[in-house]
């Protein structure tokens, strides 16, 4: 049973216990014997041509696990998916990071990996959308784009000689503001086709970073419209106008309603984190709706009763999903 630290009453404890057991029984059993700890040897039945992937090593002709986790096999590839580790980046992942340093032509970002990630100035779109080489002036103005402690969303580009590189493919990547950054264990985030979500009914954006950093903030319309860029490029006056309006935007604050929703969504993520449930749009939305339908205050969402309720709902959902299949 998972160690969940919650001040529980006796009945809540029993309910939670029961729910967790139910969840356990629902999960597939295959992996339970495949979990290994460091230095466990992984049986490969003396097959030829076994590929030893991440988290494994060759020790005297035996395949040995180098991390604690679950053994996964794809054809002849054997690798260990580690549990409760830091985030391990893969190319194409959407991550959220916090700027720790503004360096030469680059920002260093903490992305919950065992080293800082690099976001090059040239890997970032220029604020005015113009395609050009970065100049020394741009370099000096880097703090206008991000400064230390800014929260930034980017995509993992891959390992280069000088570390892990990030990039921003379009305008929807970049600085995040007016919202909350939450940190959850990265293994709770599954890779999905979409990690950017716009919850229209609440007017908020939800970005589930693969690295376990989750952003909940006011919805901002991605300004990736090509026609607009086109105008802004050929007409510097419009550009000037844009920057003015940006400042204006800075000044007017998020309305209370939206701020409440942001907190609600953030607490939903926290509940899931406490219960160690996977973060998906569907589940987070479900929790927000549940709290709204119960007329709970935002802070009450973190109470034991609600957590147990969420666990029960989740067990219900999973079992019904299973039946459907």
């Amino acid at each position: 049973m998972r160690r969940i630290q919650l001040p529980l009453s006796q009945t809540q404890k029993v309910r939670l216990q029961k729910t967790l057991e139910q969840l356990e029984s629902l999960s597939s059993k295959v992996n339970s014997d495949a979990s290994v700890i460091i230095a466990d040897s992984i049986p490969v039945n003396h097959e030829d041509g076994v590929l030893k992937g991440h988290g494994t090593a060759d020790l005297n002709g035996e395949v040995v696990a180098t991390v604690c986790g679950v053994v996964e096999r794809v054809n002849k590839l054997v690798y260990v998916r580690s549990l409760r580790s830091r985030y391990k980046p893969e190319v194409g992942d959407i991550v959220i990071g916090r700027v720790v340093e503004v360096a030469q032509k680059r920002w260093r970002l903490d992305i919950n990996f065992n080293q800082d990630a690099v976001l090059m100035l040239s890997s970032m779109n220029m604020p005015d959308g113009v395609q050009r080489r970065r100049t020394a002036l741009d370099e000096l103005n880097m703090r206008c784009i991000f400064e230390e402690n800014d929260v930034v969303c980017a995509e993992v580009r891959g390992f280069q000689h000088d570390g892990l590189h990030l990039q921003a493919r379009s305008r929807k990547y970049g600085k995040l503001n007016r919202g909350q950054l939450l940190s959850v264990p990265p293994y709770l985030v599954k890779r999905q086709k979409q990690h950017f979500h716009h919850l229209e009914e609440f007017g908020i954006d939800l970005i589930i970073g693969c690295n376990g950093f989750i952003w909940v903030g006011e919805h901002i319309e991605a300004k990736d419209d090509m026609v607009e860029d086109q105008v802004s490029q050929s007409d510097p006056q419009v550009l000037l106008h844009n920057s003015v309006s940006l400042e204006e935007q800075e000044r007017n604050y998020t309305i209370l309603e939206t701020r409440k929703y942001i907190c609600r969504a953030a607490n939903a993520v926290r509940v899931l984190s406490i219960l160690s449930f996977n973060m998906t749009l569907e589940i987070i939305k479900g929790i927000i709706d549940l709290s709204l339908s119960m007329n709970l205050d935002i802070h009450e969402m973190l109470g034991s009763e609600f957590c147990v309720l969420v666990a029960e709902k989740e067990a219900e959902r999973r079992s019904s999903n299973k039946k459907k299949r």
Binding site: E47, D48, G49, V50, L51, K52, G53, H54, G55, T56, D58, V74, N75, K76, L77, Y79, E90, V91, G92, I94, M120, S122, S123, M124, N125, M126, G129, V130, Q131, R132, R133, R134, T135, E155, R157, G158, F159, Q167, R169, S170, K172, R191, Q192, K193, Q194, H195, F196, D224, M226, V227, D229, Q230, V231, Q233, S234, D235, P236, Q237
Partner: protein
């Protein structure tokens, strides 16, 4: 096919058409090098209200010569910051536009990318730009030089993969130059251009350089739509040096001017050239044993071969330098070998050549210098004769290019590849063959190819005019020739197709969506564009159909069907009777046969054949050369034959001088002529033979003979001439004949009973009905194409391919790319599925490095080699494993409803160079491995280089799955094969 009747559109509005040469020649006031300029705006585009503020009074680059109108037009567009598509002949000087775009970007501190279809071309362009601008880098699969430069030259494939990987260049590039963008119609690689253009950054601008394409506007419309920006089209037909086109008939000894520099087709001279054609005699044909191509090559004993005569003539007339195009590497070499006796260079030049050659070869090791290809080449080059094809060592190819540019090679035998890219013109271009093998059959050179290759003729500023010579060695239809020499350029059509690598790369990206790519493809654009036109066609046809009213339609239809059946059966019988096996013995000279007249109304098949019959006398018959060229394997009775028949004809010349011959009934006005018709045009064979005079050349003799025919006809009167009886005279025994003739009898009895047959206007009525039915059929077929084009193209295939990816565990049903898919993403230079499966099945794990390299060679080698030796057992075993996996992959695709031919897919992996690559990885010298295999040096080098590319991709793949041992193994493999002549640097670098 007539192209002369083409409507000449004024170059003002609407679509662009290749301007008819007549127009430009007649209106003398118009300058010859006119250009056409159009702009395509995206839907709902509004002009920026204020003009661009950054107007530079000073041009970014000044040229030492006055620009042609099309060049300055294009440059104006560039200065306005708008994309432009330049469509002009190779020699016209499109590079100027590219140079200006580069200069402009450098001035504005922007990045610019120049992509070309071929590595060699990229190397040359790199050199050219480097001399001009210095801040230039190069990225091809083989080399990377200064990737941080402002101007980057690369292959289109590299640019595509950069965009998928999200290189920082994609955020800095302001201008992208796509050279030779007409490559987009390439069946295999064309899709790369479409992907690259669609994926390109939204705010960048484009320069497209293309050969002349008639639908340049359509292309610009597409770019405007996809990128929401205006795109200009600058189109010109202008050639700085006008061309003269000659024909050299094989066996003849002179040139015949068929199209002069004003673009006028000379009919008389064309006819003369065909008459001068000396057909290869029967004896020769047999000797050649089916290899017609060699007719040019071998020459007849005791006389000079055509090609020798040709070169001699060219040199005598001072038409050199000359490029002689042929369509195969072997032919190229063989032709050059025939020049053995010729020496075109003086001592001075010889010295020069030797110097250039030896300094270029200095970078090779001593062993490599001894390669037969290297050592054999120098003597040839010294005599001023060169060979240029893809089978040459890259370094030799480059030396030859350099020597040619220096004017030290007077006579260059080249393949088609020489016709694209860098400006390397000659005074004269010769086509040693008029047909090329396109993978599955021989076909005529298309007019587009002709335009491209003839573009090499005429050096700007040196020659007054360029000369094109077509060596014709068989009877060509005048229309074929005309179409080839004067036809329009090929259209730029999409060759889009899906690949797994593309789908996975799109799926992996948060914003990516394969469907979006499909929607934005040029293919979809072209399909969408056709819809309104098709709908209109249907409407018109339907209206026409409704306007036709027929009484008693049903019974008429019934009768019509009977007639049709009757006709089909008759045809069946006729086919049996007229099969060469049966009828040849009876086609002696003088035999009276009935044949179909050339019908005047071509879309309607006549209902009653009897109306269209005339009579003629057989003069001779001859075998038609089959297209497949396997004359030896075809039995005489299966070959098709043409008959020379004396009959009444009308010869018409239409307004532009094109001659057409029509066979008309004997009693009509016309001249007696001997025409050649296929046997199938014969209707019946009579049992009569008439005497024909020996000499049919005088008109009188022919007229008299025809008179005799008429007399004979009238003698038999109503009954008609007695015919050969199929059973009694021709001894046809086959059961199919008997069956057919019985059914004809049965049908004929049905006719009697039909009421409507007695109607007086039956013939007219039937004609009306036929017209109506044809309309119905037409509407049906148009509707079918309409249906297929209105749906998203490739939608079903995409679905099927995604199914494959799911089944193989590359992606989940939620379109999330899994581990295996990520590996396949990395692989773009070989079949991604097969290679990924090979890797995940651990095939590479336990084999030796050289074995692995050898196995991988099967994935990069595509050329077919006949009777190549089988590789040794352990390699063969590996190859069988590969085939096994390939078969499984193909089978699975078939199950998922991807259209694929399993056997040919498996056969596409070829073991031919396994041994050679094995030896190379073992450390053998290049000359040693050349002894093992039969392939061309250049082809082998290309394969090994590509192999290295694949290995690099595999290294990345192994890294991504965390298999360090395998990664090290791939790296070792790279170091083993990357050495010596195979990876010798290009001379251009």
């Amino acid at each position: 096919m007539e192209i002369e009747g083409m409507v000449v559109q004024q170059p003002t509005m609407g679509s662009l058409k290749r301007k008819s040469p007549e127009e430009s020649s007649t209106s003398a006031s118009q300058p010859l090098h006119d250009c056409v300029h159009h702009v395509s705006y995206p839907h709902g585009y509004t002009h920026p209200s204020s003009p661009p503020t950054q107007t530079h009074a000073e041009p970014a680059k000044k040229f030492p010569f006055t620009l042609d109108p099309f060049q300055s037009q294009a440059i104006t567009c560039l200065e306005n910051g708008e994309s432009v598509m330049v469509s002009a002949h190779t020699s016209a000087g499109k590079t100027v536009v590219a140079l200006y775009a580069i200069a402009m970007s450098l001035r504005d501190g922007q990045r610019v990318i120049y992509t070309s279809p071929i590595k060699a071309l990229s190397n040359q362009k790199y050199r050219e730009f480097k001399e001009e601008f210095s801040d230039v880098g190069l990225m091809t699969g083989d080399v990377t030089i200064d990737p941080n430069a402002s101007c980057l030259v690369m292959t289109t494939e590299i640019w595509r993969s950069m965009q998928y990987k999200g290189s920082e260049i994609t955020r800095e590039v302001a201008w992208i130059v796509f050279d030779e963008v007409h490559y987009m119609r390439d069946r295999e690689r064309g899709v790369v251009w479409e992907e690259s253009i669609v994926l390109s950054p939204k705010n960048s601008r484009f320069v497209f350089l293309s050969a002349t394409v008639p639908n340049a506007k359509e292309f610009a419309d597409w770019v405007a739509k996809v990128h929401q920006q205006p795109c200009h089209v600058v189109y010109t037909d202008y050639r700085p040096t006008p061309l003269q086109h000659y024909i050299f008939p094989s066996g003849g000894d002179g040139l015949y001017l068929v199209v002069d520099e004003k673009g006028k087709f000379r009919e008389d001279s064309f006819q003369k050239s065909l008459n001068a054609l000396v057909p290869a005699t029967e004896g020769d044909k047999r000797k050649e044993n089916g290899k017609r191509q060699k007719g040019l090559v071998l020459g007849r004993v005791g006389e000079e071969s055509d090609i020798f005569k040709m070169v001699k003539m060219i040199i005598q007339r001072q038409y050199d330098p000359v490029i002689l195009f042929s369509f195969s590497k072997r032919e190229c070499e063989l032709l050059a070998m025939q020049m053995a006796k010729m020496d075109l260079n003086g001592d001075n030049e010889k010295e020069n050549i030797e110097q250039i050659f030896s300094s270029a070869m200095d970078m090779l090791s001593d062993d490599d210098k001894k390669l037969p290809q290297v050592s054999n080449m120098l003597p040839l080059l010294k005599r001023g004769i060169g060979v240029h094809h893809s089978g040459l060592l890259p370094i030799l190819k480059e030396v030859i290019e350099i020597l040619f540019q220096e004017g030290l090679i007077k006579c260059l035998f080249a393949t088609e590849t020489f016709s694209i890219g860098l400006n390397m013109p000659a005074k004269t271009v010769v086509f040693t063959n008029v047909r090329k093998f396109d993978g599955d059959k021989f076909r005529w050179i298309s007019s587009g190819e002709y335009i491209q290759m003839s573009g090499r003729a005429g050096r700007r500023g040196i020659d007054e005019r360029g000369i094109c010579i077509l060596m014709v060695d068989e009877k060509m239809e005048p229309s074929t020739t005309k179409n080839m020499v004067k036809g329009a350029a090929d259209c730029l059509n999409s060759a889009f197709h899906l690949s797994y690598n593309m789908i996975l790369n799109q799926m992996r990206c948060e914003d990516g969506d394969p469907e979006k790519l499909l929607r934005n493809s040029f293919f979809q654009f072209q399909a969408d564009r056709a819809i309104p036109d098709l709908e209109k066609q249907i409407k018109v046809l339907e209206k026409e159909r409704e306007s036709i009213f027929i009484e008693e339609e049903n019974s008429l239809k019934d009768y019509f069907n009977l007639l049709e059946q009757h006709r089909n059966l008759n045809k069946e019988v006729r086919d049996i009777v007229l099969s060469p096996r049966h009828c040849l013995p009876f086609l002696q000279p003088g035999r009276l046969v009935s044949l179909e007249c050339t019908s005047s109304n071509e879309d309607l098949t006549p209902i009653f054949i009897e109306d269209q019959l005339t009579w003629g006398l057989v003069v001779n018959f001859e075998r038609v050369k089959s297209v497949s060229d396997d004359d030896a394997s075809v039995k005489p009775e299966d070959a098709s034959y043409n008959l020379d028949i004396l009959t009444r004809c009308v010869v018409k010349k239409d307004n532009i001088g094109k001659k057409s011959i029509k066979i008309v009934p004997l009693k009509e006005v016309g001249e007696p002529l001997v025409v050649s018709v296929p046997i199938s045009q014969v209707n019946t064979i009579s049992s009569l033979r008439l005497f024909i005079p020996k000499d049919l050349l005088p008109l009188e003799a022919r007229e008299n003979t025809l008179k005799k025919v008429l007399e004979t006809l009238s003698r038999f009167g109503e009954k008609g001439l007695p015919l050969l009886d199929p059973e009694e005279d021709m001894k046809i025994q086959s059961s199919s004949y008997k069956k057919a003739s019985r059914r004809i009898e049965a049908l004929e009895s049905l006719f009697e009973k039909h009421e409507i047959a007695k109607s007086p206007l039956i013939k007219q009525k039937l004609k009306v009905l036929q017209r109506k039915q044809e309309l119905t059929a037409k509407i049906k077929s148009i509707k079918k194409t309409l249906r297929s084009s209105s749906a998203l193209a490739f939608k079903d295939e995409l679905k099927a391919r995604k199914r494959v990816l799911r089944r193989l565990g590359y992606a989940t049903s939620d379109n999330v790319v899994e581990l295996k898919g990520k590996v396949a993403c990395e692989i773009s230079s070989a079949d991604e599925l097969t290679l990924t499966e090979l890797m995940f099945n651990g095939v590479f794990k336990d084999i030796k490095v050289e074995e692995m390299v050898s196995l991988l060679s099967c994935l990069v080698w595509q050329e077919k080699i006949h009777d190549a030796a089988k590789p040794r057992e352990e390699l063969d075993l590996l190859f069988m494993q590969l085939q096994d996996i390939a078969r499984r992959v193909a089978q699975l695709q078939l199950e998922c409803k991807v259209e694929i031919d399993v056997d040919s897919f498996v056969k596409s992996f070829r073991p031919d160079i396994m041994e050679a690559v094995y030896a190379w990885a073992k450390g053998s010298k290049f000359y040693e491995i050349m002894e093992i295999t039969q392939v061309f040096e250049g082809s082998l080098i290309r394969a090994i280089r590509r192999l290295e590319e694949v290995l690099q991709q595999l290294i990345a793949a192994a890294k991504s799955i965390g298999e360090t041992q395998l990664e090290a193994k791939f790296e070792e493999a790279v170091s083993m094969i990357k050495r010596d002549i195979v990876f010798a640097a290009s001379l251009y670098l």
